[in-house]
Symmetry: D2
Subunit: 349 residues, 4 copies
Amino acid sequence: MKVGILGATGAVGQKFIRLLQGHPWFEIEALGASERSAGKKYKEAANWIEDVVLPESIKETIVKNCDPDEFSDVDFVFSGLDSSVAGEIEKAFASAGIPVISNAKNYRQDPTVPLLIPEINPDHTELIKKQTFTKDGSGWIVTNPNCVAVPLAISLKPLYDAFGIEALILTTMQAVSGAGYPGVASLDILGNVVPFISGEEPKVGPETRKILSTLEGTTLAKPHFPVQATATRVPTINGHMISVTAKLEDPPANVEELKAAYTNWKNPIADLDLPFSPNQLYKLHEEEQYPQPRLHADAENGMQLHLGRLRKAEVFDISFVAMAHNTIRGAAGGAILNAELLVKKGFLK
Amino acid sequence: MKVGILGATGAVGQKFIRLLQGHPWFEIEALGASERSAGKKYKEAANWIEDVVLPESIKETIVKNCDPDEFSDVDFVFSGLDSSVAGEIEKAFASAGIPVISNAKNYRQDPTVPLLIPEINPDHTELIKKQTFTKDGSGWIVTNPNCVAVPLAISLKPLYDAFGIEALILTTMQAVSGAGYPGVASLDILGNVVPFISGEEPKVGPETRKILSTLEGTTLAKPHFPVQATATRVPTINGHMISVTAKLEDPPANVEELKAAYTNWKNPIADLDLPFSPNQLYKLHEEEQYPQPRLHADAENGMQLHLGRLRKAEVFDISFVAMAHNTIRGAAGGAILNAELLVKKGFLK
Amino acid sequence: MKVGILGATGAVGQKFIRLLQGHPWFEIEALGASERSAGKKYKEAANWIEDVVLPESIKETIVKNCDPDEFSDVDFVFSGLDSSVAGEIEKAFASAGIPVISNAKNYRQDPTVPLLIPEINPDHTELIKKQTFTKDGSGWIVTNPNCVAVPLAISLKPLYDAFGIEALILTTMQAVSGAGYPGVASLDILGNVVPFISGEEPKVGPETRKILSTLEGTTLAKPHFPVQATATRVPTINGHMISVTAKLEDPPANVEELKAAYTNWKNPIADLDLPFSPNQLYKLHEEEQYPQPRLHADAENGMQLHLGRLRKAEVFDISFVAMAHNTIRGAAGGAILNAELLVKKGFLK
Amino acid sequence: MKVGILGATGAVGQKFIRLLQGHPWFEIEALGASERSAGKKYKEAANWIEDVVLPESIKETIVKNCDPDEFSDVDFVFSGLDSSVAGEIEKAFASAGIPVISNAKNYRQDPTVPLLIPEINPDHTELIKKQTFTKDGSGWIVTNPNCVAVPLAISLKPLYDAFGIEALILTTMQAVSGAGYPGVASLDILGNVVPFISGEEPKVGPETRKILSTLEGTTLAKPHFPVQATATRVPTINGHMISVTAKLEDPPANVEELKAAYTNWKNPIADLDLPFSPNQLYKLHEEEQYPQPRLHADAENGMQLHLGRLRKAEVFDISFVAMAHNTIRGAAGGAILNAELLVKKGFLK
C-alpha cells in the first residue's frame, strides 16, 4: 500500500520514515510538511536526527504541501503533524477520502475517533463507522495515545481485567526525545531533573480511561477511576519510565497473583501476526534494578512494554514501574501498528 | 570546640571536612578511618572528590584508627561511618564518654536516640537523657535521617501541623552522590534511570514517622500514616527530588491555604542563629519547572528545602515536589546543624 | 560607577547581572535588550537561567532599548550583544561618548581596539587612544577574546615569554553553556560528542596572536605562529577544556623547566588588587586526572586558569591541557576584569 | 567451530557472548573465568550489562576455570582476560595446542604475534608460523589492538599508502565502556571530562606502527613516525572519537585528493565475505557535525570506521576526526573478525 507522511520533517515524521523502511506492506509514496519545506528535497528540508543514515530514496524526494490534492495517489496517510495545525489538515484529508492514522492529540477525545492500541482495545475500531467526514466512509481518522498514556494503559489492561481499578497515582520520568527537536535545551536537562512538562499531565487520565473503555454498541462506556500524575523530564534519550501505585477493586492476595494477571492475559491480536506486533508484549523483569530506559527501550524493535518492581503496596494495593520506547511504541511505531490492524480489519484496503 | 571525624576518608567524611572549614565554633582535631588508612597522611589515605581543593591543614593530618583512645582530646565526633562498622564503633565512643553526631543508620530507630532535624523536632534532644552508654551521661548518640527522609519530613512538617497526614505515596529521583564513591557506575546511569535503590525504601516511612513524633514526657508518640515509596536513581550529581501525593486529615480548601501552611509556619529555632541554619528554610518555587537539582541544590549553602508544584490532587488531597541537597542538608550539613543545636541546648560543651 | 548592560536578557547578559551583584565599584543602572524586550520588566523579558535567584532589584527593572539616548546616566556599558547587532549598537554607544566593554566579536580584530586580558596584555589599553569614535576620546570600545582564545592565550603567555612559540595544534572540548540558551539541543549532546562548532576554529589563531602581540609605539607587532584547532562540543555545563601540543623556539630541557615558566612568571597587574583578579592565576594540577571542568571551573570565582598534564612531547616539544570557566573567565568575568583594569588605568572615571 | 571464551564474565567477555549469538561459523562451547566464578552458572557468576537479554543457552552454562584441560573440546578460544592474568593463561592455552584470539595487551608487542586488523594487515598472520608454543604449530596467539589504535590505524592506512606519514598529534575522547564494568564512577564523569586514562597513551604509537608495518619475509619492518597522544574520557557510552593532525611525506594538494585516498583504497579482504566485515569500511561524513558516537557507533553492527572533518591543516598537513565502536570494532568484534580471517587462511580449522 502506498502511504503518505504528514509532518514528515519533524521528529515524529522522521521516525515514521525510519520505521517504514523495509515494511512488508507499506511503501512511502509522498512526504508532506509546512510551506517552508514544500518544494524542497527532503534532505534539504529536514534536519535528520535519527541514528541511521537517511535512506537514499527519501533524500531526493520533493516535499509536498499538506494538501490532500497533492496526495491523491496514496492509500492513507500517517500524521506526525504538530497539534497547532493537525486539526485542520487531518480534517481536510479525511474529508477528501484519505484515511488518517494520526499521532496528534487533536481528535483523541472525539467520541467517534478510536484512541487505539491494537493489543488493548482493537474493537474500538468500530467507532470509525460513526465518522462523517465523507458520505461513503472512505475518509476517517484514527489516533494513538500520548506517549505516557501508552505505557500506562498497556501496563494497566491486565490489572483492569483481573482486579478492576479504583485510583492511580503516578510519577513519570520522561526522555528528552519526547519533546521533539530541538526540544529540551541541554542547559535545562544535563545533570538535572525538570519536574514539569507542559500539557502532559492533563492528558494522562482522560486518555487512559478512554483506552480502557468498553465498547457498548457503538459507544464507549468509560471507567471512572481518578488519576493523579506528576510528569518530569530526566536526561535520558528514549524510554519513558512511569512509577505507578494503584488502588484496585478486588486486589490480588499476593505478588504471584499480581504477576499472573500478566502471564495469563490473552493478547486479542496474537493471531493476526502484525509485522510491528512484539512477540512478547509484556516483559516482566524480575531483577529489581530493571527495567532501564537505556538497556530496554529498544527491545523487540521498541514495541515491548517493560514492567518491573511489581509488589504489594503499603498505601493502596500495588506498585510497579513501567517503561516503553516513547517515540516508537508511544508514537510512530504505535501508529504503524494501528495501520496494520486496520488493514487486517478491512478498514484500509 | 574540637571535633573528630569518623569515616573521614569516605564521601560523607570528606563532606564533613569541607563543610567544617571556617566553621565559627568547630575545629577539626582528629580524623579516623579504617585500619587500611590509619597511620597514613590524609592526602594519601583519601581519594578527595570534593570540588574544592583539599585544605592544606588536612592534607598532612595523620589518619587515626576509629578507637576512642586515640580521640581523647576531642569534644565530640561526627560519624560518617559505613553502617557495617558504625554500630560497634559509635557505641564504643559513646561508652567512652565521647558524644557521637552520626549520619549512619544503625541507631536511628533506637527509642532513646533522637533522629534529629533541628527545625522540625528540636525537643527530641530530650531523649538523650535516657541513654545509658555512660553513667554520667557524658557519652551519647544523636543521628540524622536518611537523605530521602530529610526532605520528606521537612516538607511535611507544616502540613502535618496544619492538616494532619493520613497517607503518602511518593517516588524519588535521587542523585548519584547519595551512593558515595565510587558508588554508581557510569555505565549504569549515563542517559538512564535505575528504578531501585537497595535498602532505601524501607527507611522512608519509619524515619519520617519518628521525626514527626510528639514527645510525651520522655517518650515519642509516633503517627501511624502509611508511606509507599519508590526510590529511583537518575543522572544528577547532587539534590534528591521527591514527588509526593498526600492524603490529609483535614485538607486545605485550595492551594492558597496549602501554601499558607508553609508561609505561616514558625521555625522553632529561628532565634538561635545557628551558623548552618538557612535564612529561609522553605523556598516555595512558583515557576512550574522549578525546583531543579542542578539549579537549586546549592542554595543557602545546600541547607534549604525546595518546594514546587504545590497543587490539589485528583487522588488523595495534594501533590508537590520537594528537593534538597542530599549530602549537605541530607547528610553532613544536617549533622553539623544537629551539633550546633546540641551546643545551644547545652548537651555539647 | 554606574554601568549599563547591553544584551541583558541573553546568556552573557545574565552572567553580567549575576557577577556584578555586590561588586565593590560597579552598580547596575540600566539594562538594554532588543525591541521585543524593551519596556517590559526584566523578570518578564528574560528567561533567567542562572543557578542563583534573580536579584530582587533587577526583577522589576524596566528593560530599555539599546539606544545611547536611554543610557545617558551610565558611566559605561558592558555588551553581551549578539554579533548580528553588536557592530552597529556598540559603535553608536562609543560615538555617543559611552565606553563599551564588549564580549562580542565584532571589533576584536580592529587594530585600534584592545583584545584585552588584563594579566596578559594590560599595555594594549594604549590602543584606545587611537580610536576616533568621539573627538574628545570619551567614547571607545574594548573587547575580550573568544572563550577558547582566553584559556589558550593565558596558558601560552609564560611559555611565549620563556621559550617562544613556533606552532600549535589543539583540540577543544567545550561546554554547552558556550552556545547560550537554548543553545545546544539535548538530543544532540546527551551521551555524545559533536566534533564541530560553527565559527569557532577560525577565531582561535588570530585572536591568540593578537593577544600575545607586542605593543610597539601604538601599534601591535603580531607573532606569526600557525595554529591548527579542532573544536568539539561535549556534555559539560561549564568549563572549556583544551588539549594543546606546541612547538617552541627554545624548548625547556625538561618538565621542571616547563613548570618553572609558570611559577616564575610575574603577573603584571598583581599589585592592582582588582576585585575580579584571581589570587592565583595559574593552578598547576599535579594529579594526572586533573583539571576537570566539573570540579575546577568554579575555583577562584571562575577566574582561574587550570593547567594539567604538562609534559614533554614525542612530536613537537610539549603537551598540556588547559581549562577555564567559559562564561566567567572566558566571557562576562573577563569583561568585568577588563573594566576594573580600565578604571585603574584612568580610562574609566 | 566450537569456541571457548576466557574472561567470559567481564565486559569484553560479555560482548563476545552477545556478538557470537547467531554467528554462522562459531558456536560457544565453553566459558572460562576466575576461580571465584568457576563452578557457578553463568547467570550467577556474571553481572550482565549488555542491552539485550542474556541468551537462555548461556544462562545455565557452568563457568569453568581458565585451564586448558577444561577446554579440550573447543577449536580455539577468544580471550577477554584482564592483562594481569592474560599472560600466563594465554600461554598455557597456546602451549596446549589451543589457538588464542586475544583482546589482551600482553602479547601485542611480541614480534611473532600478529597485531591484526584484517582489512589493514591481513598478511601479518604469517608471523604465526614463527611461534613456538607447540612443536606442531597447533597452538598460537593472535591479538587485536587497543581500542584507540584500532580506529587510528584504520583511518591512517589509506593515507599511509597514498601519502606516507611523518608525524601524528592526536587527542582522544573516549567512551566509558572502554573501562569495563563498574569502570568509571559516575561521580567522575557525569557532566565532566577527565584528561587522562591510565596506560592508554603509551600504547597508541607502538601499536599503530606495528599494525602499519610491512611484512618482509617473516619479519615486520616498522615505520618510524612519532605519535603524540592525549587520551581523555568523556561521558559517552560507546564510540571512541579521535581528533588527529598529521604530517605527511607527500601531502595531497587539496581535500579532494585527501578524500580520494579513501575512496580509491582497495580492501584486501573484500572478496572473502567475512561475516563480521562491514560492507563499507570507511564512512566519510560530509556534514561537519558528524560523526557522532551516539548516532554512528552502531552502524554496520559497530564494525564501521567513521571519518569526518577531513581538511587541510595550518600546522602539518591535514586534520580529521575518526570514530569507531570501542568494544565492538575496537575489541570483541575485531577479535571475531580476526578469527574469521584465520579460518579463511586455514590457520583455524
